[in-house]
């Protein structure tokens, strides 16, 4: 089938198998590798992208479900000149990045959380980030980063 959607503000049309996961479409067909596949089961959040304004695990979304959707991936956050989005910048400054492999998913969850709740409490940040697994950090500096970004986006 031909899949038409908007990815990071650009219309795209790609030939895909209907059962192909959105994650595979993004990574293999569109070369957008910011979303990763650490588990392939919707457990880790490493493939988090926004679809029609909501975070989804792209590994669990079938290509056909994305027909006509607005998809925002981490590649769509930074400015065209490469300047980091304030959420990304906060992750740098808070020291949240270690191996970094989960961090694109983390950034998307944080971005979405702050869109819906610009002034989250500590508990709300924890809850908002619970769907994203990280094996390096212990999450503390991720919470710091979300806090920092919230202060700046306010």
């Amino acid at each position: 089938m031909e899949l038409k959607m908007n990815v990071n503000g650009q219309p795209v049309a790609v030939e895909v198998a209907p059962t192909e996961p959105l994650l595979q479409v993004l990574r293999e067909r569109l070369g957008l590798v910011g979303a990763k596949e650490p588990c392939g089961k919707g457990e880790c959040g490493g493939c988090t992208v926004l679809m029609n304004g909501q975070t989804v695990n792209a590994c669990l979304v079938m290509a056909a479900q994305a027909e006509g959707a607005e998809v925002l991936t981490v590649e769509g956050l930074a400015a065209p000149d490469g300047k980091l989005h304030p959420v990304q910048q906060a992750f740098v400054e808070a020291g949240a990045v270690q191996c970094g492999y989960c961090m694109t998913g983390m950034v998307m969850s944080a971005f979405s959380l702050l869109q819906q709740n610009p002034q989250p409490t500590e508990a709300e940040i924890k809850e908002g980030m619970e769907g994203n697994l990280c094996r390096c950090t212990g999450y503390q500096k991720v919470f710091d980063a979300v806090n920092l970004a919230a202060g700046r986006l306010r």
């Binding site: 957008l32 392939g40 400054e93 270690q98 970094g100 961090m103 619970e130 094996r135 390096c136």
Partner: protein, 777 residues
């Protein structure tokens, strides 16, 4: 050395963070590829079986299949392994674990490759398995390798042990079990192999030992290593789990048959879990003796480590555990018998802490009980027995470098978690919950150890405009060493961190500085960069130029070499410990932690509320990075203590994905407060030691001590799941594993182990894997 440092000791932002956060294709498994094909590995269907027949005809005939390879297609040595090559690249006579590889496929698409795997016919004759490490020692056990199930036996005896136990006021004797923790790095093993037009083989694969990988691949191909180039940094997490070859050998073999096309392999999470190495599960029977005044008198231990089907680093893991069997304390006498044994339980290898967390939980728990029986404060009892500089460690190593145990203990004593423990424990809200605080102290040998070649090297290249490129093989696996290396270089060269590009893990550019393991990367890389930078400074002087930018122009004009190299050898102990390969270490990192937990007495659930984590880093190169490592180490320690175990029943894996192997989430981790202690190490770069492994080591005993403090039960098996804690609280007999029957088996195992005729000793006489031809001959 000047005290005013511009970069060393500053919380410099990670230089690699922006590209990673933007989703740029920095990881080896994210590289854009032109005309790729896709590789898959056929794994075993049995944990132990003879291979009667492998038929690839149908798979090869499937349209879209490019090649199907078996052991017949391994041109060189069909074996690999860091210490001994006892693991077949592709199995030929039998399989010994579920992760064993039998065949490789390359195809036009991943789907065709998967379909081709299903068409490969293998006839097996299942063999009896051995899935219990203690049973594996006993005579008559099924043999994983014909040479015997004992991979390594290490026995150290020191002092008058029997007399010490006879004279002791307190003797504590328990058996502890630790789990098969999975690394669960977020980036599973994967990469790309390609035969280049110039005849070189290039491999892009996240790894921890680029030059050693290259050697192993060269050996199995029968090639000159110089024809192979491995790109291996950065990695999406490793923790020791990418120290062994992961997929490089498969990529290499396939790339010889794909007509120059890049071939990609990226393991699914399930395949990663089944095939990859794990933390060695340990059984530790430990008997500790103390005098009435609290002085530790003797330590006796029987240690059995399950290395699974192949050795990997099982021998060194066992020996590092044994080296740390007495922790940071003086023990005038010691009797330790350790075994690293083969089973059909997957494969174990390097994992952050490298055997030390497995024995430390036994030691520190025993010490807590000694304190209770003597009516002593647990921290004070520990202080009384601390090793001082110049003392011998438990295994008899003279501690001549910076000893940080006193400093970390004092910092722990002053941490709010410990100091305000009474108030924190009383602040419990629900009446069915109880709170407790426990502590753990540790040290961790740094570097590879006595007698093992351990060295560092770097190249620094002067670039136009006075910028620099630093090449070092040690990879960025997430620890922040790329940033630390840029800091070392900027400090030594007098430039900005932004003017330094650090190239890691590329055998074609970076100097061979060994592995990113053993908490050696800051020490090794820092020292190598400092030594190499001196040569760059000499180059600047030789040009007579005022700046590096001008020096570059002069050097080009005069045809001077603009790339300099330097290397050094790691300091090591003067004397080896007899009978214990690789021991002792010479420089140690130190840590101490206090954990506050809350136990739900209705469910047995343990929540770790806060952890004070003290680390002696020597000089901290990047304090923010140290904090990150500390927080992450504690999180992995919480998983180890309370949640994680790769469950293998009869050789088969029951929880291979993240849906049933649960690692700590944002909701599970405690608040971690890190206290950095800097006990200057004169042999280290700018006084630094390193600290990456240290923070996972004391977490488990601190949590176990806190559980006891809360509800009065000692846990002897990790993870301390709600079921186990609840059963222990209820006094359920099933919670007691330390039965007369177990003691009888341990006694039998000790006798059998000591009586066993070993066919192999560390470093010599190891059996080499045989090819089918050899068998016929």
């Amino acid at each position: 050395m000047t005290n005013q440092q511009t970069w060393i000791g500053k919380s410099v932002h990670r230089v690699d963070a922006p590209a990673k956060l933007k989703g740029e294709p920095v990881y080896m498994t994210d590289r854009p590829l032109e005309n790729p094909c896709f590789g898959r590995v056929l794994r075993s269907r049995y944990p132990h079986a003879r291979i009667l027949r492998i038929d690839t005809a149908k798979a090869s005939a499937l349209p879209g299949v490019i090649c199907v390879l078996t052991h017949k297609d391994v041109p060189g040595l069909n074996g690999f392994g860091i210490v001994i090559p006892d693991q077949p690249v592709l199995c030929f006579d039998k399989v010994r674990m579920m992760g064993d590889a039998l065949a490789l496929v390359a195809a036009e698409t991943p789907e065709i490759a998967a379909a081709a795997l299903d068409l490969i016919e293998v006839d097996y004759e299942p063999l009896p398995i051995v899935d219990d490490a203690l049973a594996a020692i006993m005579p008559g056990s099924p043999l994983v390798h014909e040479t015997g199930n004992i991979h390594l036996r290490t026995v150290i005896r020191r002092g008058e042990v029997a007399q010490a136990f006879a004279e002791a006021a307190v003797v504590v004797d328990h058996v502890y079990f630790t789990p098969r923790q999975a690394h669960m790095f977020l980036e599973t093993e994967g990469g790309v192999g390609q035969l280049m037009p110039n005849g070189e083989l290039h491999i892009w694969c996240p790894a921890q030992a680029a030059f050693r990988d290259r050697l192993q691949v060269a050996r199995l191909l029968g090639w000159d290593p110089e024809r192979i180039r491995e790109y291996s940094s950065p990695s999406g997490g490793a923790f020791g789990g990418k120290d062994e070859l992961t997929v490089q050998h498969y990529l290499a073999l396939l790339a010889l048959h794909t007509g120059g096309r890049p071939v990609k392999i990226h393991l699914s999470r399930e395949e990663s879990t089944v095939a990859g190495i794990k933390r060695h599960p340990f059984m530790v029977q430990m008997r500790t003796a103390a005098a009435a005044d609290g002085t530790f008198l003797a330590q006796e231990a029987f240690v059995v480590a399950d290395t699974g089907a192949y050795a990997s680093l099982g021998g060194p893991v066992l020996n590092l555990a044994i080296e740390h069997i007495g922790g940071v304390y003086r023990f005038p006498s010691l009797n330790v018998e350790g075994y690293c044994v083969y089973t059909n339980n997957g494969i174990s290898g390097a994992f952050r802490g490298f055997g030390v967390p497995q024995v430390l939980v036994a030691l520190e728990s025993n010490i807590d009980e000694i304190a209770r029986r003597l009516g002593r404060d647990p921290l004070d009892l520990r202080r009384q027995n601390l090793i001082q500089r110049g003392d011998l460690s438990a295994i008899g190593n003279p501690m001549t470098t910076g000893v940080g145990n006193q400093a970390v203990l004092e910092a722990l004593e002053n941490s709010p978690t410990w100091k305000e423990r009474t108030a924190k424990k009383a602040a419990v809200t629900d009446p069915w919950k109880r709170r407790g605080v426990g502590i753990g102290l540790c040290m961790q040998g740094l570097g590879l150890g006595k007698g093992i070649p351990d060295y560092g090297a770097a190249v620094i290249e002067l670039l136009p405009g006075g910028k620099f490129k630093v090449g070092i093989s040690i990879q960025e696996i997430g620890t922040g060493n790329q940033t630390a290396y840029a800091q070392f270089a900027a400090e030594a060269l007098g430039c900005d961190v932004a003017d330094v590009e650090v190239i890691q893990g590329d055998t074609g550019y970076s100097a061979d500085a060994g592995t990113v393991t053993a908490t050696r990367s800051v020490f090794t890389g820092g020292k190598a960069i400092q030594i190499t930078a001196e040569k760059m400074v000499a180059l600047l002087r030789s040009t007579g130029a005022e700046s590096y930018a001008a020096a570059y122009a002069v050097a080009r004009e005069r045809g001077l070499e603009t790339k300099v190299r330097g290397s050094f050898a790691w300091p090591e102990a003067d004397e080896e410990i007899p009978g214990a390969f690789g021991l002792p270490h010479h420089i140690y990192g130190y840590g101490a932690q206090a954990a506050l937990v809350e136990v739900d007495t209705l469910t047995g659930e343990v929540q770790v509320l806060e952890v004070a984590s003290v680390v002696d880093t020597g000089k901290s190169i990047n304090p923010m990075g140290v904090e990150g490592q500390s927080e992450g180490g504690v999180a992995q320690g919480v998983g180890l203590a309370l949640m994680e175990d790769t469950v293998v029943r009869e050789g088969r894996f029951l929880n291979a994905n993240m849906s049933n192997y649960i690692i700590p989430t944002a909701g599970d981790v405690p608040k971690v407060e890190t206290f950095i202690v800097e006990v200057h190490e004169e042999k280290g770069p700018s006084g630094a030691k390193g600290m990456g492994e240290v923070p996972i080591v004391p977490t488990m005993p601190a949590i176990f001590g806190a559980i006891y403090d809360a509800v009065g039960v000692q846990m002897f098996r990790a993870p301390a799941t709600p079921e186990r804690v609840y059963m222990a609280m209820m006094g359920d007999p099933s919670a007691t594993e330390d039965t007369p029957a177990l003691r009888a088996r341990i006694a039998e195992g000790r006798r059998a182990g000591l009586a066993a005729q070993l066919h192999q000793t560390e470093g010599e006489g190891y059996a080499q894997p045989k090819g089918p031809e050899d068998e016929e001959a």
